[in-house]
Every structure is written in structure tokens, then in C-alpha cells.
Amino acid sequence: MNILDIAENSIRAGATLVEIRLELQGSKLTISIRDNGCGMSPELLNKVTDPFTTSRTTRKVGLGLPFYKMAAEMTGGTMQIESRLSVGTAVTATFFLSHIDCMPLGDLGATVATLMQCNPDIDFVFSLSDGAESFAADSRQFREILGGVPLSTPEVAFFIREYVSEHIKPILEKGI
């Protein structure tokens, strides 16, 4: 599941805040990635899950959203996009983790750390909850603790990766 790929769309859309929320209900996982970037026109929105749509000039075929949709649907889940021009975009997908075709979740700690390390001017909120327990990592909070020390500092990025990985592990293990 390429959360990083979807979050990169938000970055490219000029977002200053990107929220990545994961909710577990048993083996059903809902991932929502919400941004306050440039948004999409209804026309573009209608086309983006078509594998031949991209607004990029460096590569002809945009595959991030079509792949993501396919990954969700392969598990019996769904993907929806809500978007409004100059307001933002929310991509919500459900995955059934117990389904044999479900792709691995990947290293979420590294994903969160990479986003914060490489985009120190964008705020990221990551959260995971299963109803009973929850964990959140917010770059605004990290930045406040860090004073002027940048999020791109290797020691900071490494801390964030471990911090997120350690805290989400017990919650994820309950669900799977």
C-alpha cells in the first residue's frame, strides 16, 4: 500500500497540512489521507482513477491513484476521493487485512519519518486507532519540542521512525 505515493500528491498540490489517519476495526483498515492543497476540478476528479491521467509533464502516465484503488479493491475494499479546488483533497480507502491479496502495510514509521524529514515546511499528522487504543504523531508538536532544531536532522528523523514504529506495533498486532 503506497501511502507515501498518495501523500506525495498532497505535497505536489502545495498542501501545508497533510493528515494520514488509520482506523482499525477488526481486520478492516480505513486509511484517510487529507490535505489542504490546491484540490481538483470535478473534471480532473472524474478522470484520476483512469490510469492514463496525470498533470505531470515529466511522466506521461499517473498511476498513484489507480494503483491505490486497485490495491484496496483487491481486498474487497473501496477507495473514494473528495476534492474541492483551493480547499483540499481527501483520499479514503478501506482494506481488509485478512484478505489473501492484501498488500503489506509497509514500514509506516519510515514513511512518517521520511515525509517529515524531507518536507520540513509541511505539517504532517499521523494517527492510528483501533477504538480502544490510539497513537498520534504530529510534526507541529515535534517542532515545538525541537525549538529551532530542524526535522531534517538525521538524529531527529531516526528518532521519529523508531518512535512511530514502536508505538504502532502493539496496536497493529492486535488487528492482524
Partner: protein, 122 residues
């Protein structure tokens, strides 16, 4: 389990270093090519490995960043190392293991790892 107190401790450690910090003229920059093509080619483990190794060795004069596609997709993952006063070195087809050697031999030891550079492949 790791707590945010550790982050506060990193801040204090870093701020103490700031006073004795190498000036900008001594900062080594490491740039990892991370366009989506780079991620597909495994740039992320490379970035993670470099970040971890630099943190572990406490190399405070090194900054790590990412860039979009460098335009050499068939050679990805690509890592560029900028040492002040020296020519840029471009490493291609990188892996986490190769990246560790680059940190040790080039960034710490001052000697680029010739066999991983773009020049040795072309």
C-alpha cells in the same frame, strides 16, 4: 518504549553543538533521488540507511535531503554527495549496504567509493 523526552534530549544535544558547529562552509550535503521512480527503485531504504548511519555516528556536519527525479531513472537509486571545495560525487544503483560504505569511506574517510560512482558505470 521511546518517549518524547528523548526528542527534547536530542534538541538539547543539538543546541549545545550549535555553538561549536562547523560553519556552513563545512557542511556536507547528501541528496537522495526520491521521485516516484526512485522510490520504486528502492530509494527509501537508502535514505533510511544513510539517515540512521549519520545519526549513529553523530555526524553533525552532514545534512540529508531528497530531490525529485534526477533524470537518470535507469541508474536509480541515486545519491549525490557534496563536500565543500570538492566536485559533486554521484553514486548510482545504490543499496542500503552501499550507502553505509559511502558514509564510512567518503563522508567520514574523505575518499569517494569509486566503484559506485556514475563514472564507473557509464
Amino acid at each position: 518504549m521511546k518517549s518524547l523526552e528523548e526528542l527534547a534530549a536530542i534538541r538539547e544535544r543539538m543546541q549545545r553543538i550549535v555553538d561549536t558547529r562547523h560553519t556552513d562552509g563545512e557542511t556536507v550535503r547528501v541528496v537522495v533521488g526520491m521521485a516516484t521512480c526512485g522510490i520504486a527503485a528502492g530509494a527509501r531504504p537508502v535514505l533510511n540507511a544513510i539517515t540512521e548511519e549519520i545519526a549513529r555516528r553523530e555526524l553533525h556536519h552532514v545534512v540529508v535531503s531528497q530531490t525529485g527525479c534526477i533524470g537518470l531513472c535507469q541508474y536509480e537509486p541515486i545519491v549525490e554527495v557534496f563536500v565543500p571545495g570538492q566536485d559533486k560525487v554521484t553514486y548510482v544503483k545504490m543499496t542500503a549496504e552501499k550507502a553505509l560504505r559511502v558514509v564510512g569511506e567518503h563522508i567520514v574517510g574523505g575518499k569517494p567509493v569509486a566503484e559506485y560512482t556514475v563514472g564507473s558505470i557509464r
